[in-house]
Symmetry: C2
Subunit: 101 residues, 2 copies
DNA sequence: CAGTTATATATCTGTCAACGAATATGTCTC
DNA sequence: GAGACATATTCGTTGACAGATATATAACTG
């Protein structure tokens, strides 16, 4: 079974997602920014799209890829209980002090 | 390279972590709760421990495993920008309304 | 329409790593 | 010695990846 987690486990795909934080990008930019070959980039983009993490739209003869933030929500939900433990833990005082700076 | 993401990509390991949310548990409980063999459970626990996601302490002739919430922080940090996009997005109104119920 | 650019998809190859299952053995503690 | 656990080994399977290459599609350009 291919889960969001296993999709995110691949560094190349996280690289692509990081590039997309700045905004929608055509495939050519992602090829250049990731150092992957064009076919390989398209393959990872398909996997990201099937996982609901990015979406595609046409722009003339190019395809723009953009983040699809809803796709990250289930990971966030799984992660939340663990993060909550951290927030309730010993780091709480330190973060409180940091907020006072 | 074995990252926190690739460690979390394995369903069996997420199962073990989920069992540990309720509190520290000896290996025997995790074997029973996960349905894995004992050697297999120990293997996954070692991987989780090397990733900093759990910690171990002795308890008589048993070993107690517990969550180590700091280990989840880097994932949370990577995820944060994407979640922020979601929070700033169209879901905001809906969640606002939900809060008013 | 022909040619070109941008992208998608497919195929094949080779490599590599992870997994479960089974089993054996070591170690520590009671 | 028995129970609880860790570690290691072997085996067989499966799946993911990069690289290379070829081809398909769609849109723009002249």
């Amino acid at each position: 079974m291919t889960t969001t987690f296993s999709v995110l486990a691949e560094p190349a795909r996280r690289d692509i997602l990081d590039l997309l934080i700045a905004g929608p990008r055509p495939v050519g930019d992602l090829v250049a920014g990731s150092g992957l070959s064009q076919p390989n980039t398209s393959r990872h983009l398909r996997i990201l799209r099937e996982a609901g993490l990015v979406e595609r739209r046409a722009d003339g003869q190019r395809r723009l890829y953009a983040l699809r933030p809803e796709g990250f929500v289930d990971v966030e939900r799984w992660l939340a209980p663990y993060v909550r433990l951290w927030q309730d833990g010993l780091g709480a005082l330190e973060r409180h002090l940091n907020r006072m700076e």
